[in-house]
């Protein structure tokens, strides 16, 4: 239980890193938090507990700010993984959007042909993806202009 807030903090810091960087940074930050917690507990003459861990994490600074300070070190493999994640996410969006539209249209128009359904599903899919891009500011590396 004690390590949960540490893992949570480290995951927030490392979530956008490539696998090698994530592993190294996570290991280093975890060792630091544990060292720092030991020192704080000794200073207060108490055992390391959740309160000490929380205070130590607070001293580290906001995870999002720390994450932004790290240099980007993604390897080619990480970009491929990002690309695959993007394609998977897109397909899931499409299937979900198409299913919802399909169910709604079936309920409204009992004898619906496939063609208008596909057109509406694609339009809705594009709108959802557009909102997704704007909200997440996420464009995979292989689609970015070099």
């Amino acid at each position: 239980m004690q390590s949960d807030p540490i893992e949570k903090y480290i995951n927030k810091v490392t979530k956008n890193m490539g696998s090698k960087q994530r592993e190294e940074v996570g290991r280093e930050l975890k060792a630091h938090i544990l060292d720092s917690a030991d020192a704080l507990a000794e200073e207060k003459n108490v055992e390391v507990d959740d309160t000490i861990i929380q205070e130590t994490i607070k001293r580290m600074g906001p995870a999002e700010d720390i994450a932004d300070m790290y240099p980007e070190e993604k390897a080619g493999k990480d970009n491929i993984i990002d690309g695959l994640k993007y394609i998977t996410r897109s397909l899931v969006f499409f299937v979900v959007a198409a299913s919802i539209i399909g169910i709604v249209l079936q309920l409204i128009f009992k004898d619906l042909s496939l063609y208008p359904f596909v057109v509406v599903a694609i339009i809705v899919y594009l709108v959802i993806m557009g909102i997704h891009f704007v909200k997440r500011k996420f464009i995979p590396k292989f689609l970015q202009n070099k």
Binding site: V25, A31, H32, L34, I66, Y70
Partner: protein, 103 residues
Amino acid sequence: MQLAVICLLDKERYGYEIIKNLNDTGLKVEEGTLYPLLRRLEGNELLSSRWETGGPRPRKYYIITDLGKEIRLNWLITFKTLIDTITELEANIQDKGASKNAE
């Protein structure tokens, strides 16, 4: 802060040790900010590192490289020049009381 950090690394030290040393010299740093800085300095080849996994916790030790020593010298010269310039400019301040209050 990077100049202070790089000045500590003629001897191998790990992150927590560096923060303790900085705090001892009166330079308070938000602990998490040190690690991205170390990573950047290492990426620029001003520092090198190695993992020590023999102890109770794995530790990443950093030390300054030859390139780091060259760059550090340049930074120190720039920093000292800046201090001299500020000292010179401070002599032109007429309201010394306000200057002392600002300190």
